[in-house]
């Protein structure tokens, strides 16, 4: 069986295959850049196990919110000189360890394409450098 126009079909096929797989190899570089949220320097552990925090911090934040706003339970309050860890607060709790929203929260959220609206009211810590 004679092959007609092999010199046209072959490059055509290659271009076709290239176009079809474009999304895969185009993103391959980016998909490798796993987010690296900045680790706190003032503490070794989070308020819950790290695995739980990674997947469910939004659930914990909702629990805090309801406890504080609806039930009036704000958790422990910092005393004169002592460091207080588990204040049920976004600004006065989480962000006392995770001192940068940009280098911590946003690092993951940009990657996951989520944009929590919390910062429209809650105030991000001042970014140093």
């Amino acid at each position: 069986m004679p092959m007609y126009d092999m010199n046209k079909i072959l490059p055509g096929l290659i271009i076709f295959a290239g176009l079809m797989t474009f999304p895969i190899w185009y993103n391959s570089g980016n998909a490798g850049a796993v987010p690296k949220p900045e680790k706190p320097t003032n503490a070794k552990e989070c308020v819950r196990p790290t695995d739980y925090m990674r997947t469910s911090h939004m659930v914990l934040l909702n629990e805090y919110r309801d406890a504080v706003v609806r039930d009036g339970e704000r958790g422990a309050i910092k005393d004169a000189g002592g460091v207080e860890y588990d204040e049920k607060s976004l600004m006065l709790g989480c962000m006392k360890c995770h001192v940068s929203a940009k280098k911590f929260c946003d690092e993951c959220h940009t990657y996951a394409a989520v944009k929590p609206y919390c910062w429209e009211c809650h105030i991000q810590p001042k970014e140093t450098n």
């Binding site: 919110r65 706003v69 609806r70 039930d71 009036g72 704000r74 309050i77 600004m91 006065l92 429209e120 009211c121 809650h122 105030i123 810590p125 001042k126």
Partner: protein
């Protein structure tokens, strides 16, 4: 055919009667309730008994000594500043967009139920410092379709900003004008670049356009054992405490002094009391 039409008209007639009668019956019920609870503040001073919140719970309240505010020019404004700067309350620079948690009212506007006929002229010059009444029967709470505003365990009428959809039913329901709507972005700036919140307190969230806000009786300060910011700033011209605690200082003052409430006949049971 004919009998069907008769039936239809009968039913329609019954429906109409029910439609007219039910609301008026309902209204008279409501009135009965209002009359029962309009005994005014003599009875409300005891409080609690018929409160919307659990009668065993707290009901924080305030006694405001108007004379001290009249004698100390600027004291009211000082209290307002203390509250508004703490809670990031924006100043939009005009009455229409104004956001207020605590403000100064004219006597005749604060107490329209009291006759103004041949009243002492000084009374009309009195600065009536006022804020949310944290009513024990708050009409705003009933009006809110999302339970964004509710009575908390301390008797404070709280706002849960996370649930507010900005419908403003609560504003229509509040007889004291204690609620403000954010028509504009509180984090914005005016034409000449001045931010509406001149210095943001990083410890308290701002609000956004499209939510209603009001005084929270400083629930964040009470949690730390502090008094509300206005009370602290008033230096004795305001007394804060639990109206349901018979031994509280506020109850002592209420039992000794003659005080009035704003619009007590509405049956909202305001928790603010004025010494005039």
């Amino acid at each position: 055919m004919d009998s069907n039409r008769r039936k239809f008209l009968k039913l329609a007639g019954l429906g109409a009667i029910a439609g007219v009668a039910a609301p008026s019956a309902f209204n008279s019920l409501l009135k009965g309730e209002a009359i029962a609870s309009s005994g005014g503040h003599a009875e409300s001073a005891g409080h609690g008994g018929h409160a919307a919140a659990a009668p065993t719970g707290k009901q924080y309240g305030l006694v405001i000594d108007v004379k001290q505010f009249a004698d100390t020019p600027g004291l009211g404004e000082h209290c307002i500043r203390a509250c508004h700067s703490l809670h990031n309350v924006p100043d939009f620079g005009n009455k229409k967009d104004e956001i207020k948690w605590i403000w100064i009212e004219k006597y005749e506007n604060a107490f329209p139920e009291h006759s103004n006929y041949k009243r002492n002229a000084d009374l009309h010059k009195m600065p009536i410092v006022t804020l949310c009444n944290h009513c024990s029967k708050p009409p705003c709470v009933r009006a809110c379709p999302t339970k964004a505003t509710f009575k908390n365990k301390d008797g404070i009428v709280m706002m849960d900003f996370h649930r507010c959809i900005g419908c403003r039913f609560c504003m229509a329901a509040c007889p004291y004008g204690a609620r403000s709507f954010n028509w504009r972005d509180p984090r914005g700036k005016n034409e000449i670049g001045k931010p509406f919140i001149s210095r943001i307190n990083p410890d308290f969230p701002t609000r956004t356009r499209g939510v209603v806000e009001k005084c929270n009786f400083c629930s964040e300060r009470l949690a730390k054992g502090l008094q509300p910011a206005c009370v602290e700033a008033a230096g004795g011209a305001m007394i804060f405490g639990d109206l349901n605690d018979p031994g509280s200082e506020i109850n002592k003052v209420l039992s000794e002094k003659f005080t009035i409430q704003r619009k007590p006949s509405l049956g909202t049971n305001p928790s603010l009391f004025y010494i005039l």
